[in-house]
């Protein structure tokens, strides 16, 4: 194979490029070749207003030619690379191993950066707000990582628990005057309860079926929130959700019992944003700590064993259903806590914030970051949410870049950025990473 490809077989390469050009033609002809244009009344001899079809075959020709030449060059490049390269790890997998070899340092650097970020001179209100958004997704990613990454259950409706948490707090605060800090654990518990409620009938399904049912559950929650307007406010949502306080100190312009008055500083609305930033940072760290701790407990090992082989688990006396339920409930709990935070940050929630694309986004963060990897999820969340915001200017290309990044990750590192698994316990003391090819993905 290697000797033959080193000779650059032109006919084969031309044929490949020709096929690619043909595909491009089939796609470009209707998409680029024909364009409808609205014409004002009377123009071009047409009576009345209408649409005309503009044909642009020159554009099609250029596109097809570009694809042909590009494919040809790509072929040459490939062949040269195959000929030149000795068998060994690819460029991309080397990037990954550079990262995984030093995860503790990298994680420490990330935590340090997160702690100091709001104090940096460049950290204006917008940047800190973006930091809050990123950390919210980091927390959601870590919560979902328990379900998808550790237990191997594909959950496409995770945003439902986020919604349950947010609405729990909003309703408790509006009707019963609960404060944020009291409602925070309650929202988590309510979400966990819903996780169990959903889990009972659903967790006997596996794989694709589980994914579809969880997706449906996510939509059900949103639609109920949308239509039960007496209770949830329907599409108008719920507003006037109270802001969190720091040991009873309010972040408000009044002087009575407020943060700035207590510390004797000038009132600045950024104080509240920075406070919120540290709240979500703490919550995310708590999620991470609990997850890492659970991994070393029997329940965490059972989750991973479940992902590896469910039948073997049954033969060892593990109650598969209950074990899955705990994963679902704990994942849902963190989703609910994040939802409670979201409600207090926004001060206003509506079903629009809990659409399917949010679930897909969180799942993408987990999958791209690496199933089961805490650091990978944090990096993926920072890159994806951060990049999403930074490219807000060039909105039209945002989804394109997003899709492109996903394709690249899937080609280079199909198991996610950090795909290795660290053992939860060792005899020798040294935790050697287990290669991604060994670790199972779970079958639902």
């Amino acid at each position: 194979m290697a000797t033959q490809s080193a000779q650059f077989p032109l006919p084969a390469m031309l044929k490949d490029a020709f096929v690619a050009a043909l595909v491009a033609l089939a796609l470009a002809a209707p998409i680029l070749g024909m364009k409808t244009e609205a014409v004002p009344a009377g123009a071009m001899g047409i009576a009345g207003q209408g649409l005309i079809l503009v044909q642009r075959w020159d554009v099609v020709a250029i596109a097809v030619a570009l694809v042909f030449v590009g494919r040809l060059l790509l072929n040459v490049w490939w062949r040269r690379r195959i000929a030149a390269r000795a068998p060994g790890p690819s460029f991309a997998s080397r990037i990954g191993s550079v990262l995984t070899g030093k995860t503790p340092y990298f994680a420490f650097a990330m935590v340090l950066a997160a702690v100091t970020m709001p104090m940096m001179p460049f950290a204006d209100r917008y940047i800190v707000d973006l930091g809050i958004l990123v950390l919210t997704y980091v927390m959601l990613g870590w919560g979902l990582n328990i379900v998808v990454g550790l237990a191997g259950l594909l959950d496409l409706g995770y945003v439902a628990f986020y919604a349950v948490g947010a609405y729990s707090f909003a309703l408790l605060a509006i009707h019963f005057d609960f404060s944020f800090w009291v409602a925070l654990p309650l929202s988590g518990l309510v979400a966990a309860f819903w996780g169990i409620l959903l889990g009972f009938p659903v967790l006997r399904l596996r794989g694709d079926y589980l994914a579809i049912v969880t997706l449906a559950f996510g939509e059900m929650v949103r639609i109920v929130l949308l239509n039960w307007y007496q209770f949830t406010g329907g599409p108008n949502g719920l507003s006037n959700i109270p802001r969190p306080s720091l040991f009873g100190l309010q972040f408000s312009p009044d002087d009575e019992g407020s943060f700035h008055a207590f510390f004797g500083i000038e009132y600045d609305p950024v104080h509240r944003i920075i406070f919120l930033y540290y709240v979500i940072f703490g919550l995310a760290l708590l999620t991470n700590w609990v997850t890492l701790r659970l991994r070393r407990l029997p329940v965490g090992r059972a989750w991973e064993a479940l992902r590896e082989d469910e039948i073997a688990c049954r033969s060892l006396g593990i109650n598969v259903r209950n074990t899955k339920l705990t994963a679902f409930a704990i994942g849902a709990m963190f989703g609910g806590v994040a939802g409670c935070f979201f409600a207090t940050r926004q001060g206003f929630i509506s079903p629009e914030s809990f659409v399917f694309i949010e679930s897909a986004m969180i799942l993408a963060i987990v999958v791209l970051g690496g199933l089961g990897s805490q650091l990978g999820v944090a990096i993926a969340a920072s890159v994806m949410i951060g990049a999403f915001e930074i490219f807000r200017e060039v909105r039209e290309f945002r989804l394109l870049a997003y899709g492109g990044a996903m394709v690249l990750i899937m080609v280079w590192r199909p198991r996610g950025l950090i795909a290795e698994r660290k053992p939860s316990i060792t005899l020798g003391g040294e935790r050697r990473a287990i290669g991604a090819n060994m670790v199972g993905e779970g079958h639902g």
Binding site: P298, D309, S315, L427
Partner: protein, 277 residues
């Protein structure tokens, strides 16, 4: 004779129109190595799956009796409860290890229920109660013991999926032993092993039986293994029991030879055995 450990009576398993096992009865005595043999498709693995709770039998009863006199009706129990309460462990024909987890982790997962209780169902473990630490140390000690017995202690921190085939089989048995079973069901423990490995496997199984007071029930194709280590053999063909007895009796039973070799060769074989061997 002592009370049988396992008593299977009139076990029948139907899959739609297919009758996989019909009125199958046998019993296994404590501390015996009992083998179920038979040609491919005879229903051996189906019988195993009924005993270990992976299938619910269409009819019949399966009773397990512990040394303390406690009995369990296995045909009514859920699979994981059979493993936990009745203490039946099993291995699989196509090895089922947790490939991405280390050997040590594999053996700790096998001690899940005890560790779960010690960690107060996670609530104690998460705050680090001392009782859990102690239980985990004991669990690691037990895992180390079995890794040493299986000759795998050097590779304790390697992923199970990286082991060679024969070692994976031994690890699966070690993992099953970590659940402290009274009855261990082995589905073709010697499949895919070479002669030397299969010899080692025999020694390992004998050791397990002698030192740990566990009875073995095994399915096996490899006659050298079966004849050498079994105390009692049950022969299945087309879902029915056609013979049972000691290895000596089975070896000379024309019905068994017929089932394995076909009628005509069987007659020749019986004639040859009568003269030689």
């Amino acid at each position: 004779m002592s009370e049988p450990l396992l008593r299977v009576e009139d076990l029948t398993m139907r899959f739609g129109g297919l009758l996989a096992i019909e009125a199958f009865s046998f019993s296994a005595r404590p501390r015996d190595i009992t083998a179920i043999i038979g040609p491919n498709g005879a229903g051996k693995t189906t019988a195993f799956n009924c005993i270990t709770g992976f299938y619910r039998p269409s009819s019949g009863t399966i009773t397990l009796r512990h040394a303390n006199g406690r009995t369990f009706g296995l045909e009514r129990m859920e699979g994981f409860r059979i493993a936990e309460k009745a203490r039946i462990a099993r291995t699989f024909q196509n090895i089922r290890l947790f490939a991405g987890m280390t050997l040590l982790e594999n053996l700790l997962v096998a001690q899940h229920n005890r560790l779960m209780r010690a960690s107060w169902y996670t609530f104690g473990g998460i705050v680090g109660i001392p009782g859990f630490k102690k239980a985990e140390d004991a669990a690691v000690k037990k895992a180390v013991y079995w890794l040493e017995r299986a000759g795998l202690i050097e590779r304790a921190d390697d992923p199970a999926g990286a082991l060679p085939y024969g070692a994976q089989r031994r690890l699966e048995i070690a993992r099953a032993m970590c659940t402290e079973p009274v009855l261990m069901c082995l589905d073709e423990p010697a499949a895919g092993l070479n002669a030397r490995e299969s010899e080692e496997m025999n020694a390992f199984l004998r050791y397990v039986r002698d030192e740990h007071d566990v009875s073995l029930l095994l399915i096996e194709h490899d006659m050298s293994v079966v004849m050498e280590i079994s105390d009692y053999i049950v022969v299945l063909d087309y879902g029915r029991k056609i013979s049972e007895g000691t290895p000596e009796q089975i070896r000379n039973d024309p019905k068994v030879i017929a089932a394995y070799l076909g009628e005509e060769e069987a007659e020749a074989a019986v004639a040859a055995q009568g003269g030689g061997a």
